[in-house]
């Protein structure tokens, strides 16, 4: 039993950026353990993803077939079990996604092995795998030792650097048995509302509003600021729950985890769950009437004041600076 195995993810035929982040986490562990690093891809068409992913693995295992699209729990389980049986790794890593959250715990139960999900730190102590993840809404960090064979973990997005291409190893095709019929049928997926502007998850600039705006009537301040900066629109949980904007705009532990270069928080107090959602943001600006608000412990720059006075002046000056 040896080696660190990293499962990449394919979305719309393309390798996801998170796959390269998990590869970095895997490479660090493999190096610390002194064991080989291997990768795996599962999909109905893995060609494009293979080219992007294969660098730096001693071997890349491929499971390809029509069973793997659309996503099904049973197909993912069958494929993963087949790859794990083929290479007997001591550690298996996955990106933490909506899908892996659902099927990887079932894999752990089947293999009767340890799993910790949504890890932000993975380390080796002696030969033990020790991981850290946010718990209790994100304000507390839990450190866990994972045992079993293989030890498994899912890795939070936007925490690790994306792995740069290195020399590629061999490609190994694995035949997985046809999956058991799934009791869940995926019917369709709809956008709640066609959101204008960039998607939150990928946005470089996000302008988000919270309860401090006072009411839905003031939401236009957020939209105008976002429009001026070419930003995506975000919101805190109370705003989504109150129905000011559709919940697809929600940033936070139970909304979207974002990783923009610039995050402007307007009238957001900075609850722990919201801060968890923006932990990967590079520069955070907070505008709030309360100079004691928790958001200011996370923000790089703060403006104390009523956003209805701050923002028009802010936007006017931006316009002047651009001309």
């Amino acid at each position: 039993m040896a080696g660190v195995l990293v499962f990449g993810d394919i979305s719309d035929g393309q390798l996801t950026p998170a796959s390269l982040e998990v590869a970095t986490a895997g490479a660090n562990l493999a190096s610390a353990l002194g064991e080989p690093l291997r990768g795996a891809l599962v999909g109905d068409d893995v060609a494009a993803a293979t080219e992007k992913f294969r660098g730096g693995f001693a071997a890349l295992y491929l499971v390809e077939g029509r069973h793997y699209r659309p996503y099904s729990t049973q197909a993912s389980l069958a494929a993963a079990q087949a790859v794990i049986a083929a290479c007997s790794p001591s550690v298996v890593l996955f990106a933490h996604t909506l899908e892996t959250r659902e099927w990887v715990p079932r894999l752990a139960a089947r293999l009767d092995t340890g799993l910790v999900m949504d890890c932000t730190i993975l380390a080796v102590e002696g030969q033990e795998l020790v991981v850290t993840k946010p718990v209790y809404g994100g304000g507390v960090w839990g450190e866990f030792v994972i045992r079993g064979a293989p030890r498994m973990a899912t890795v939070r997005a936007s925490v690790f650097e994306r792995r740069q291409a290195a020399a590629a190893g061999e490609l190994v095709r694995v035949d997985a048995p046809p999956p058991a019929p799934d009791r869940v049928t995926y019917l369709d997926q709809a956008a709640a509302v066609a959101a204008s502007g960039p998607k939150l998850k990928d946005a470089k600039i996000i302008v988000a509003g919270g309860r401090g705006l006072g009411g839905k009537d003031n939401w236009h301040f957020v939209e105008e600021t976002a429009a001026a900066l070419g930003a995506a629109v975000g919101c805190s949980r109370p705003v989504a729950d109150s129905g000011w904007v559709p919940s697809l705009h929600q940033v936070g532990l139970s909304g979207t985890l974002v990783a923009p270069d610039l995050y402007i928080a307007i009238g957001i107090s900075g609850a722990v769950q919201h801060l968890a959602g923006i932990s990967a943001a590079k520069t955070v600006i907070a505008i709030n009437t309360d100079h004691e608000a928790d958001i200011f412990t996370r923000a790089n720059y703060g403006v104390v004041g009523d956003c209805r006075e701050v923002l028009p002046a802010f936007l006017e000056r931006i316009k002047q600076l651009r001309s």
Partner: protein, 105 residues
């Protein structure tokens, strides 16, 4: 027999059909809880709620493969650089200058 469910995802929702029996995880977005009638509240106060131990159910917990070693509160000690200005509008303009200087807008 099956049920059709909606599940919220990042940028919308999925529709899925699941065969019964099924275990469903319900999210708070599903509805506004109703307020129980006074009679129900009083009945709940008088209710006898059984308590079971694992041995009562004839089960034994399996040895855990995951060990919690430490819990740590993240202490936030850093503070933002507050933009100066004698009015909210002045601070707004000063913020624009600062972000422009930093090449962020």
């Amino acid at each position: 027999m099956s049920v059709t469910v909606h599940r919220l995802v990042e940028d919308g929702y999925q529709r899925l059909r699941v065969e019964l029996p099924a275990l469903l995880g319900i999210s708070s977005e599903i509805n506004e809880p109703r307020f129980p009638p006074m009679r129900g509240i009083m009945a709940a106060g008088r209710a006898m709620i059984p308590g079971w131990k694992a041995s009562d159910l004839g089960v034994q917990a399996a040895a855990s493969k995951v060990e919690l070693r430490k819990l740590q509160i993240q202490l936030r000690t850093s503070k933002a650089e507050f933009i100066a200005g004698s009015s909210a509008a002045e601070r707004g303009a000063a913020l624009a200058n600062r972000l422009h200087e930093l090449g962020l807008v």
